[in-house]
């Protein structure tokens, strides 16, 4: 295997590891193709750290001889140790926000290790990633993969069948490479029209149904932007498709996740928006949502502020504010709230899109479903929702989604069937995982790499009885009503469980949550027996 080319030094003895919440320890460091393994030298402590290299975000080298510090930590270390050559220090910053420090004796070994980590942690080739090698003894690759399918989703919603059909126009991913092979579309629109509409939408993402509101029969559709361009091109099939979606109703809403100005500017690049004259039954609402780079920068600022170790943490609240992360949370929740309001309160169907229709579009359509639909709020329902709407690789929007869901959980402690622990697990797995669930950005890519045949499915594992119990919310009470989040900044909190995860206090609260859950389960078992 070519991994070995990247490993010049596989083992180093007498490495000192410092990690949050633990005293420093000395032991053996080992680099494998996918893991960093550290085993404590003290036999009775038996401590091991197994870290997926994929989890590593950055390695910082410092060649400073750290002998003083070294002997400070181990005052009884023998004199002979002092003779060892200079050591190097690696600071390893992980995607789950952990920061590890390794002191490695021998500069050369240190540099070798650093290089291996740098190369192996960002392998571009998905097929070489760990999920393709992970083979737990208690699971078989023949186990069912995934929780649902578009077909099943369609079959389950019978009320839909009168006006909507399942189209396999994208069976071979030729119409839209980023869509699944089957999608739900208005019955009145044939596959040929869909193909035309797809050509009129960026990346072929023509409007498809993603949610059917049982209470009033309204739907949420999503798509990418129409390719009207500077010349105001039209596509009659696209117009008919949208008209068919609101048949029997006089009006629908379009929520564009860009500002009106941005949408205008997009025309210069060949994109655009649905003009009033061509889509007369649709009312456009623009809500500017930050994406991509801005979001990433905001996240970096926040993580920096949270990781600031200086004892004088002056102006913490200002730093938090300056990161703007919470205002992105606010925008996401309020736009999702708007979407839910259109559907539930105004009784209108809504089309959501931004540019590509893959980032903020999915974010708010997912959140709106959680707000309105009680069946999405169970553990299984939530994972199915994620699988249907939102499985993507390493993206800050996914973290933003989890943060928003956490805010819902915080504001409605009884409404969600799952716990903060699940959100934390998902936040970790999304960035580095033993499972194939978060690999690739589309069904087509997953299909090409045979993800479903060659990796294990995280969601299925999370639903196994033992894991399931671990992620239930002990306070959960099914509730048919919509849960309208308060989006005032006073109501939004920093998700400490994630962002301040590697602190004593957060660890302690995690354990307490676990205790509470076990408590309630135990009461129930005996009291109701």
């Amino acid at each position: 295997m070519e991994f070995s080319e990247h490993i010049k030094t596989a083992n180093v003895e007498d490495v000192v590891l410092q990690q949050p919440l633990h005293p420093p320890s000395k032991g053996t460091l080992c680099i494998t193709s996918h893991h960093l393994l550290f085993s404590d030298r003290e036999e009775d402590s038996g401590r091991q750290v197994l870290l997926l290299l994929r989890n590593i975000d950055a390695v910082e080298k410092s060649s400073v001889e750290n002998l003083v510090n070294y002997f400070g930590l181990f005052p009884n270390a023998g004199r002979s140790d002092r003779a060892t050559e200079s050591s190097g220090t690696l600071v390893i910053k992980c995607k789950d926000l952990r920061v590890l420090q390794l002191e490695i004796p021998g500069m050369e070994q240190c540099l070798n290790i650093a290089q291996s980590i740098e190369t192996l942690s960002c392998l571009a080739c998905v097929a070489e990633m760990y999920p393709f090698f992970y083979r737990p003894s208690n699971a078989s690759l023949r186990d069912q993969w995934g929780l649902s399918t578009p077909e099943r989703h369609y079959t389950e919603m019978e009320a839909l069948h009168e006006r909507w059909r399942l189209s396999t126009v994208n069976q071979d991913y030729s119409v839209c490479p980023s869509y699944p092979p089957a999608v739900i579309v208005p019955k009145a629109i044939g596959d040929d029209a869909l193909k035309m509409a797809a050509k009129f939408r960026q990346g072929g993402r023509f409007p498809v149904l993603c949610y059917y509101h049982r209470k009033n029969g309204m739907v949420i559709l999503r798509s990418s932007q129409p390719l009207t361009g500077a010349n105001r091109k039209r596509c009659i099939q696209d117009e008919l498709l949208l008209q068919a979606a609101i048949e029997g109703s006089d009006k629908g809403y379009i929520i564009d996740t860009r500002s009106a100005q941005q949408a205008q500017q997009a025309r210069m690049m060949g994109g655009g928006f649905e003009s009033k004259s061509c889509y007369s039954s649709w009312k456009r609402l623009h809500r500017h949502m930050e994406r991509g780079k801005t979001l990433q920068e905001s996240l970096i600022k926040l993580v920096e502020a949270c990781g600031d170790k200086s004892p004088n943490m002056d102006r913490w609240l200002s730093k938090l504010e300056n990161s703007k992360w919470l205002s992105h949370v606010q925008t996401a929740l309020s736009t999702a709230g708007l979407l839910a309001e259109c559907v539930e309160r105004d009784g209108r169907s809504v089309l959501v899109h931004g540019s590509e229709g893959t980032g903020s579009t999915l974010l708010i359509s997912t959140l709106a479903q959680l707000i309105m639909d009680p069946s999405c709020r169970t553990l299984e329902g939530f994972l199915t929702l994620l699988e249907r709407e939102f499985v993507q690789q390493e993206c800050p929007v996914f973290l933003l989604l989890l943060d928003c869901v956490w805010q819902l959980w915080y504001q409605f402690p009884l409404a969600l069937g799952f716990s903060e622990a699940l959100l934390l697990r998902l936040a970790t797995e999304a960035y580095s995982s033993d499972y194939g669930t978060f690999l690739c950005n589309s069904d087509m890519e997953r299909c090409a790499l045979q993800v479903k045949g060659k990796t294990h499915c995280l969601f299925r594992v999370l639903l196994k009885p033992r894991e399931r119990e671990q992620y239930t919310n002990p306070l959960y009470e099914p509730n048919e009503l919509a849960i309208w989040p308060s989006v005032h900044p006073q109501s939004l909190q920093l998700w400490r469980g994630f962002f301040l995860r590697w602190t004593q206090q957060t660890l302690h609260l995690e354990l307490v949550q676990e205790d509470i859950r076990n408590m309630v389960i135990e009461w129930g078992k005996l009291a109701l027996s």
């Binding site: 206090q505 354990l511 135990e522």
Partner: protein, 593 residues
Amino acid sequence: MASPVSVYNSNVLDAHISSTSRESLKMELLADVTLLPGEERIIDKDIIYICPFSGAVKGKVLITNYRLYFKSSDADVAVTLDVPLGTISRVEKMGGVSSRGENSYGLDITCKDMRNLRFALKQEGHSRRDIFELLFKHAFPISHGLPLFAYVTQEKYEENGWSVYRPVEELRRQNYELCDTYPAVLAVPFKCKEEDLRRVASFRSRGRIPVLSWIHRENRAAIARCSQPLVGMSGKRNKDDERYLDLIRDANDTAKLTIYDARPNVNAVANKATGGGYEGDEYHNAELVFLDIHNIHVMRESLKKLKDIVYPNVEESHWLSSLESTHWLEHIKLVLSGAIQVADKVSSGNSVVVHCSDGWDRTAQLTSLAMLMLDSHYRTLKGLQVLIEKEWISFGHKFTSRIGHGDKNHADQDRSPIFVQFMDCVWQMSKQFPTAFEFNERLLLTILEHLYSCRFGTFLYNCESAREQNALRQKTVSLWSLVNSKTDVYLNPFYTPESGRVLYPVASMRHLELWVTYYIRWNPRIRQQQSPVEQRYLELLALRDEYIKKLEELRLSDSSRLADDSPGADTSSPSPASSPTRQRHYTHLHTPF
């Protein structure tokens, strides 16, 4: 009382209906007020409530000798206000007869509990004169020679809250044998040489000599509290005081006594100019630590700033930096971290003395919070009551001055939210340790509601002597009577007692939160899901009780089968303590110093 309402009322319907049917209309609108025994109607009136959230709301206001109650008459905007008059800090007239603009003539009411109320009346015929005068009179009874409502109410409860705190029993609980190992300090009021004591008292501000607050069961380290020494500019000394403090140190044989001065260093120095000061090098075997907590004026202004950004409108665009600039959370942090230092010192076996200037504000915060950290008893429902009775009420936190009960002088510089700040700290701790407290947030909110209401005698007067003079315990009801007669609603279902565990909260800005459910509770848009959660808690409490009952049954049937070889057979019945969770042994959280 003949109501003059109809005379000025432009409501044609109302003006023409007979007084009996008007009575019934009134009844209908105000039907859901249940008056307390002893509560009497003073006046009611049609009025417009200028609600900051729903706009102008027509309705009816009822003023009794206990409350101001408003209910909207329009079914579409259901607005109800139920404000104990004790909560009112200031009543002002707004606008004049000639003021222009809609709803510009009326009353402006400033409350002590983070809200203001504004009412509009018809401009014709001095329509607000009677209500203003009556409200002013009954909101500030002390300024008008009237009794506080606590002296009027006829409420009866199953439990008698006045018996919650018995000083001698409380000392026994701390394993302190009277007149045993620590005579010099505790025996002070009875036994110590009168003369020595008098000399110490003469050297402490307002005679507040160091007295015992709490003593550690095992290591016998003590928390003593007092006021500042009267060192003055000339650096006076007092041998008796020095000896007295050394006796406290000596009580458990520690090498060094730590004196915590709650004030910032500069303030302590400045106090010398007015005759006060702090302990100098002449106190051998003692170290002095300043805790940098600011005085009552700083705290008052800080909370005022907080109110400005949460009521009536919440600051939207720069919420976090605005919150930061109130410094409220920073003050909370300093109080908590001061208490952590005290607790940590005591738990490592060293006795401490805590004081500020007079020893009734910051000192009370520090000792009571440290005790809450050190002694799990105070984390129970009854224990918190004892803690408040002991460290706050009996040791003379000046509730009347700090709250201004029944007093019209709203700008009194003695007013300050010191006790609110303490409750906030307790809340922060309960957030950080969700299973360590037997009581829930509802209890804290209830205590704060009645801190102002004057319905109970608990928070009246500045000190014990005034309470005795006014026969408080005989003539008023204790807040704890209310609480202890219906405990369910105040209980935390997840409470898991761990006696002996010291709780060190994290006093870092990152882990502190604004107590939104208290400070911003009047804003309907911010309100969190309180009542369903409380309902769920009650269900869980019932489930827990059922569990404990079944467990007990199982245990009984087990022990009858196993007869004598069961080791647990003679232990007391399982409290909620014993079992609901597997016991986890936490390492204590490390504090940031």
